[in-house]
Symmetry: C2
Subunit: 226 residues, 2 copies
DNA sequence: TGTACATCAGTGAACGCGCGTTCACTGATGTAC
DNA sequence: TGTACATCAGTGAACGCGCGTTCACTGATGTAC
């Protein structure tokens, strides 16, 4: 993939020092999304991918950790925006919750490397401290609020836990789903949407049939894996 | 910890070549349990921990992967046995299920490094293929059976999913709980037993109060983290 | 009882590799006079 | 229009490190005669 036999790269003209910076971000993002083990990404790999000397990176980032944090921040914001966008067209509290959760799970399964890095705590802490990006807590906030809204509306008592705990449990359920789905591909997984539907039905007390329709509306194409 | 200033180690006497092998397993197990990132364990670290030349390991294992697989197999069997033992003294299907699940979650939280390695897919696949140990599937089998037994007994319809899917969902919920609990220690976590209780209540349809008693009987001491 | 020999358990030095980081440098492009 | 100079964007070689793996070896212990 990186076996470019091209002539040694031409330097950017004077005013355009930012060009390489953008290329570095792009290359690091591509590698983080592509590598089997994104946590092993090295500075020299990024330099090779761009076709530049390893030392060149230091002109734009203090070290590899800064570059990775930059990329992860972008991915995190992308996920948050996708969830908000999906929820924006929801017609009620339940649709809002389903939109957020289904988007979360689909993104996690579509981006296993980034998901494990962002949420799964796979990056070495010295490179990417937990507080570098939201690491899920802000997403969790929106899910908690949305779930509380559903439970309040229906007055259906699924359980007596406070909103915080109920939201946390829903998040952990979704995370476990995505994490095992990504890491244990050898299991005979049912369609992802079925699992999302059942999980949301359990945690809201709403009938699965109703939720299934909303889930399909969010990500209709997701069936069996491979 | 490994700063032993002792004299260079004495070789084992003739018949006892297995002594070093045991020490290697012990040291690797200790390091896997102790390291912040067990997946970065190296052959030379193990050799240093034992106080032996790196090359000595090759007399007992073909490579580091074989040693690690050996240790992980032991940990996996230990967990399976703990779950079976806990279930052995259960007085009914629900107690059986609670015993298995609570033991699983407590073990995962007590052994974050090994849990992430065994179940969380943290080890490089070329060192530890998913099929090397059960990787959770056998544990999953016992949970599926136990859950099916509970749901059949009470004839309470929690949902229409088949046993396989219901068991899988319970497992993913427990895994998400353990994984996030371990990786996101900065969150204000409720007591672990409360989360286990609520999860089991959701997935069985049994009242939380009844389950809470059973959970406390399995692991009474587990309160807030730290 | 003595001695030559085999085996066992592990050593120590060396190899080539990829890594992060440093440092003096280069060479094209713009700017001042 | 010409030329000296500054700056920008990145280079290339080198460093020391820890790693997995190899290979000939060592030195104590047992065994055969």
């Amino acid at each position: 993939m990186t076996d470019e036999r091209t002539a040694p790269r031409r330097r950017n003209p004077r005013g355009q020092g930012e060009t390489l910076k953008a290329e570095l971000v792009e290359a690091a993002a591509r590698l983080l999304a592509t590598l089997d083990r994104p946590e092993t990404l090295t500075l020299r790999q990024v330099a090779r991918e761009v076709g530049v000397a390893p030392a060149s990176i230091y002109s734009h980032f203090p070290d590899l950790g800064a570059l990775i944090r930059h990329v992860l921040r972008l991915r995190y914001e992308e996920l948050a925006r996708l969830m908000d966008d999906a929820a924006a067209s929801a017609t009620g509290p339940l649709a809002d919750l389903v939109a957020r959760c289904a988007t979360y799970a689909h993104w996690g399964v579509a981006h296993p490397g980034e998901y494990g890095t962002l949420i799964g705590g796979r990056m070495p802490t010295e490179l990417v401290p937990l507080t570098a990006h939201g690491a899920g807590e802000e997403l969790l906030g929106s899910v908690i609020a949305s779930l509380a809204s559903v439970r309040q509306r229906t007055a259906r008592s699924v359980g007596p836990e406070p909103s915080w705990q109920a939201g946390l449990l829903l998040w952990t359920a979704l995370h476990g789903l995505v994490a095992l789905y990504n890491d244990h591909g050898n299991l005979p997984w049912p369609p992802l949407n079925d699992l999302i539907t059942d999980t949301l039905s359990l945690h809201t007390g709403e009938p699965a049939a109703e939720i299934a329709k909303l889930v399909e509306a969010v990500g209709p194409s997701s069936g069996h894996r491979a």
